[in-house]
């Protein structure tokens, strides 16, 4: 494992962030998308690359950190390779999301928010995903799965235990 203090953006990530900076009328507007680039590279938003973002965008380090800690999609700590997010807002609640969450916790042996010891799967809940017509819905990283039945959820978790990349990606 690389020490966190040695984490650095790749050339490709830096290029993406520079391009974002040029896209907006004000460079600071690129903070949110730049943090998505950071998270894409590291799986979370470590401090040293955030400082690099601030330097590229010519803003204060604190201005980037403020943003990184406000929005829930930015992980402050490393998470599992796959983050399974069960929507538990009202429409999914009405169609069985709590049962899915309980099922997932039992199957994986982790609490909500926890990660399996092999670092493969993090199980979490999430606020309304705007897919209430296909409830209950879940996300695997940023990809949706709709109308999830308990049997499907079981199979999804089994598949993710072995998966190398996200099997639910739809271009």
């Amino acid at each position: 494992m690389v020490e966190e203090s040695n984490l650095k953006l790749t050339g490709e990530s830096r290029q993406k962030i520079v391009a974002l900076k040029q896209l907006y009328p004000s460079p600071r507007s690129a903070v949110l998308p730049a943090l998505h680039v950071v998270q894409e590279q590291f799986g979370y938003v470590p401090v040293p690359p955030m400082a690099e973002v601030a330097d590229i965008l010519e803003i204060l380090h604190g201005e980037v950190e403020q943003v990184a800690t406000f929005y829930r999609m930015y992980h402050q700590q490393p998470v599992g390779k796959f983050v399974v997010k069960v929507c538990d807002s009202i429409s999914c609640y009405l169609r069985g999301s709590d049962e899915l969450l309980a099922q997932g916790q039992q199957k994986l042996g982790v609490k909500c928010g926890g990660t399996t010891p092999d670092g493969q799967i993090t199980l979490d809940k999430i606020e309304c995903l705007a897919a209430c017509g296909n409830a209950p819905c879940i996300q695997v990283n940023d990809e949706f799965i709709y109308d999830v039945t308990p049997a499907q959820f079981d199979a999804v978790l089994d598949e993710l235990k072995r998966a190398k990349k996200n099997p639910y990606f739809v271009p």
């Binding site: 943090l35 309304c128 897919a131 940023d142 199979a155």
Partner: protein, 456 residues
């Protein structure tokens, strides 16, 4: 391994029995035209005709007048007339912006999601026309971070449109220049609130701004800015193409056109239903969506997203036209048209707890009454739900609620007490049962043994 068919693409409810002339796909045309996401198909279906008409046949001010005449009202919640909003933009030089609000995060609301993933050009065309109307050369689509696929689809569509000379410099040879930037948020309901959205787009925390000044005067980068919901903007190309009279043919006296009713909860066929404004709840829930699921009875419904009050399952309510005025007359709101259905096996205390938890989790923390008050509400509801309610808790809930509403920068806090107040009006005895019996009056929780420690 088992052959399980995952649904990574949304499955839409089936079209209703044919022969119903009021039901057609306009914004939802992608359901009947495969591949509409692609520019070539979109154009074959008449796409970008509205933009052409706007640029070639009308002055910007005339476009605003057309949209005013159509009667189009905002779909984000408040129902403000779109053309009127645009006319507030001062006719001064310098930068002006259009921001499309695609943050869609209100529980029960999911129309933008479908529109964006399946028909991105419709939205882009709407933004371009809006930019032209107010004299802007830059439109933003603020899309919630969780819609990663939606953002990919939009970016691809912008690229296609640029290659075809529909975005960029000298659009369609008319001298009109316009760029569209797809901007992904990162998970925060508050960024759907328009002033928080602007803060977020400027690269800051999504804290609402104090108003005035309003965005029309000092919005993004302190410049005049129009903010409209995605669905609002998706209507614009059709209004230009077919004319405001055509549009105003649909709907009711004060709410024109058609809209996407997002139907969820305990119904047989949930999903988006595109219907003329003013269709009744009965038609939506029973005629089109197959009624309450599992053959159960309707207990209550929420008509316009989680921020709008519960309505009882009476004939009077079911026959109410779903428009701003009709629903207001029943004591609730049209809001975002997210219709949430509750069957007779639902414990109202549990449902209200879940509704209020959302506001607690999503309070941005800027204003104390909202930040602290929503936590208290959840604490009290939590103990009620778990058989530890105390006498006086219902009054306490109302009291805390009234100390949040109207005391913060934005309306998020005002929404938290809404389900509590309206549920207490309709189902007070269920709350009292929870206090006195320590368990639910209805639903699976009713068979729970009485919790020790329940108040007497």
């Amino acid at each position: 391994m088992s052959v399980i068919n995952y649904k990574s693409n949304q499955i839409f409810p089936p079209p209703p029995p044919s022969g119903d002339p009021t039901y057609q796909y306009i914004l939802l045309k992608h359901r009947v035209v495969p591949g509409l996401r692609k520019l070539a198909v979109y154009q074959k279906e008449g796409g970008y005709e509205g933009l052409k008409k706007a640029l070639n046949d009308y002055q910007p001010g005339q476009v605003i007048d057309l949209v005013k005449q159509s009667g189009l009202r905002g779909r984000g919640g408040a129902g403000f007339p779109a053309g009127t909003k645009w006319s507030f933009i001062p006719k001064v030089g310098g930068a002006k912006y259009v921001c499309c609000n695609a943050d869609e995060s209100e529980p029960g609301t999911f129309s933008n999601h479908e529109l964006i993933e399946n028909n991105p050009h419709q939205l882009i065309e709407g933004i371009l026309i809006t930019c032209y109307a107010i004299g802007s050369e830059l439109g933003f689509i603020y899309i919630r971070g969780e819609f990663a696929r939606g953002a990919r689809v939009l970016e691809e569509a912008v690229k296609e449109a640029r290659a075809a000379g529909l975005v960029g410099k000298n659009i369609l040879g008319t001298g009109f220049n316009c760029e569209v930037i797809v901007h992904r948020g990162a998970g925060a309901y508050i960024c759907g609130e328009e002033s928080a959205l602007l803060e977020s787009l400027e690269g800051k925390r999504g804290f609402p701004r104090l108003r005035p000044p309003f965005p029309a005067i000092a919005g993004l980068y302190a410049r005049p800015t129009v903010i409209n919901n995605s669905e609002t903007l998706c209507n614009v190309p059709h209004i230009l193409r077919h004319g405001p009279e055509w549009y105003a043919n649909y709907g009711t006296e004060k709410t024109k056109g058609f809209r996407l009713y997002c139907l969820s909860g305990h119904v047989e066929r949930p999903g988006n239903y595109e219907l003329p404004c003013g269709t009744t709840f009965r038609k939506l829930i029973y005629d089109l969506a197959g009624g309450v699921w599992k053959g159960r009875k309707l207990k209550a419904l929420i008509p316009g997203g989680s921020s709008t009050p519960f309505l009882a399952a009476t004939d009077e309510v079911l026959d109410t036209p779903m428009d701003f005025e009709g629903i207001a007359a029943r004591g609730s709101m049209q809001g975002s048209a997210g219709v949430i259905v509750f069957d007779d096996q639902t414990c109202i205390v549990g449902a209200v707890l879940r509704l209020v938890e959302f506001y607690k989790d999503e309070s941005c923390g800027k204003c104390t009454p909202c930040r602290e008050g929503t936590q208290w509400l959840v604490q009290i509801l939590h103990r009620l739900e778990h058989g530890e309610g105390r006498p006086g808790d219902l009054e306490l809930l109302l009291n805390v609620g009234s100390n949040i509403a109207g005391k913060s920068f934005c309306l998020l806090g005002d929404s938290a007490p809404v389900p509590i107040e309206s549920a207490l009006k309709l189902f007070r005895e269920e709350f009292e049962y929870h206090i006195h019996q320590g368990r639910c009056m209805v639903g699976p929780g009713a068979n729970r043994p009485v919790t020790i420690g329940a108040a007497h």
